[in-house]
Symmetry: C2
Subunit: 283 residues, 2 copies
C-alpha cells in the first residue's frame, strides 16, 4: 500500500544528517530531500550521501510525507507556521531543543494536528553535515511534547521514525521539557563555555597551562566546542529557566568559594560528599 | 647486579593500586609491599593481587628501595618528613596532586635529596583498590616538581618507574604546578560538584528531572563522583590558587547570566564563539 515515503530534512547538520543516515540505512525512506540555506552544507550533504537531492523548501513540502525540522530553534520558530500553511496530510516533526515558544507560535494554527514537537536527547559537541554519525540515537530518549495535540495518524508516522532510530519515548508538557532540559543539558553547556573561557583567559599570561590538561578537564570542557549558532537561540528561547538554574549554580559555586575562603573544611567535605549522590544517577 | 627491587605502596587506592598493577605486570618490582590504614583496603588489595604483602610503615621503609606515597595530600604532608627521617638510600616518590605545601614540609630535611615530588596527570572519578586499572598512566604526563633538588641516583630510580608506566615527563616549579593544576584539574572538579548539587537540589521538587540526562550532562558531572577524602585536602592545600580561579570562573558565569538577562544575544554569541577556541586544545 505504502508506495513511497519521502522524507525532507530541513537543516542538514548533526541531527538532520544523522537521522537521514539512519533512515537510508533501514530503507525506511524512499528518497531523502535536503533543504539547507548554506551552500557548503548542501555540497557536503550530497558528497556524504546523506540526502538524494537538494531542493527548495516548497519542493520539499510538496514531495515529502515527513518533514523534519532540524535547524536552530529560532529558525524552527520562524519556519513552523509557514510550513504548516502549506501542509495537507504531511507530518511536520520539530526536533528542536526548546519547546514553549515554538509551540506557542503554532498554537492556533488550523493545521496544528499535523505538527509534532519532539526532542531527541542525543548529540555531540560537533555540528554540520560532517558531524553526522550512524547510531547517534540508538537507545536514547525521544521526548514528545504535547503529543495529544497531534492527529493520531501524524503521531503514528512520527513515532515510526523514532522506532527506526531505536529510541525510547517519553511524554511531557512544554513547561516540563524546557525546565528539565535547562537543568540537565543547557546548564552543562554554559558551564563548559565559562570554564573554557576561564582557562583560555589565563593562558594569555601562562602559556604552558594546557600542558597538564587531562581527561577530567577534557570531560568538563568538551561541550565548549558547541556551535554558537545553535546554542545562542536555545538559551534565548529558554531564557527564564536557564536564568533560574544558572543563578542556583552560581550560588552553589559561591558556597564552595565561601567554605574554602573561611577554611571551613568540614562543610566543604560535606558538600562534596553530598554531590557524590550523583552516583545514583550516572553509572 | 640489581638483585632485588622491592616497592612500597603507601595508600593502596586508584593511583597506588594502578601503579602496583603495572610494576607487577612488567616484573619491575621483585615484591610489592602495601601499607594502608584502612583494613578493608588491605583485604581488597591482597584479594585483587595488587600487593604481595600488607606491612606496617616501618617494615615497608626497611624492606623497600622505592617508597611511593599515594595517600591524600594532607597525609603526604604529615608522612613525608617522618619517612625521610628513616631513609638512607631509598627514594621516596610523592604522587600527590598539590606540591607547594608538601615540599615546604621537607625543605630543609637532611634527606631532601632522597625525595622526589611527582604528579601523574591521570585518574578517574573512582577511588579505592577496586578502582585500580591497568594502563591508567600510559601516554599521560608525569610532572616532576623541583626535580633539581633530588639526588641524581634517586631521580634516575624514580624516572625508571615513570618509564615503566609509559609516561612522558614534564618539569616545573611547585608554584607553576599548583597554579596550573588549579586551572586544568581542580576547577573542573568544583564545577562538577556544584553542578551535581544544583540538579540534585532541583530533583527534590521535580522527580523526573534526570530522565532527560544525556551524555553532555554525564560528561560535565562525572567528576562529582570523586572522593571527598581525597579532594577536600587538595582544595585545602591549593587554597589560594583555587580561590583565584574559582573567582574568575564565577565571573565568567555571571557574564553569561548578564548577557542573557539583558537579552544581549550578540554578546552571548561572541562569548560562546570565543569559548570554541578550546578546540585548539582538546581534540
Amino acid at each position: 500500500m505504502q508506495k513511497e515515503l519521502n522524507v525532507a530534512v530541513i537543516g542538514i547538520g548533526l541531527i538532520g544528517g544523522s537521522i537521514a543516515m539512519r533512515l537510508r540505512e533501514t530503507e525506511f525512506a524512499t528518497r531523502i530531500f535536503g533543504v539547507d540555506k548554506n551552500e557548503n552544507n548542501q555540497k557536503k550533504a550530497l558528497q556524504l550521501g546523506l540526502v538524494d537531492e537538494i531542493v527548495d523548501l516548497e519542493t520539499a513540502i510538496e514531495k515529502c510525507k515527513i518533514i523534519l525540522l532540524t535547524v536552530p530553534v529560532d529558525a524552527i520558530m520562524q519556519l513552523a507556521p509557514t510550513i504548516l500553511d502549506k501542509v495537507n496530510e504531511q507530518v511536520v516533526i520539530d526536533m528542536g531543543s526548546t519547546k514553549i515558544n515554538i509551540l506557542h507560535s503554532i498554537e492556533n494554527h488550523p493545521n496544528r494536528g499535523r505538527y509534532i514537537a519532539a526532542h531527541p536527547m542525543a548529540g555531540t559537541e560537533y555540528s554540520g553535515p560532517e558531524a553526522a554519525i550512524p547510531n547517534l540515537f540508538k537507545g536514547k530518549v525521544m521526548v514528545y511534547v504535547e503529543a495529544f495535540k497531534t492527529d493520531e495518524d501524524a503521531f503514528d508516522l512520527a513515532d515510526s521514525v523514532t522506532e527506526q532510530l531505536e529510541m525510547r519515548s517519553v511524554f511531557m508538557t512544554a513547561e516540563e521539557h524546557d525546565m528539565h532540559t535547562a537543568y540537565v543539558s543547557h546548564i552543562s553547556h554554559i558551564t563548559s563555555f565559562a570554564l573554557a573561557l576561564t582557562v583560555l583567559e589565563k593562558e594569555k599570561s601562562q602559556g604552558r597551562i594546557f600542558e597538564l590538561a587531562g581527561s577530567g578537564f577534557e570531560s568538563t570542557v568538551r561541550l565548549a566546542k558547541s556551535s554558537p549558532d545553535m546554542w545562542t537561540p536555545i538559551l534565548k528561547q529558554n531564557r527564564e529557566n536557564v536564568l533560574e538554574v544558572l543563578e542556583e549554580h552560581i550560588k552553589q559555586l559561591q558556597d564552595v568559594y565561601r567554605n574554602l575562603k573561611d577554611e571551613d573544611y568540614d562543610s566543604l567535605h560535606k558538600l562534596i560528599k553530598r554531590s557524590n549522590k550523583i552516583k545514583r544517577i550516572i553509572r
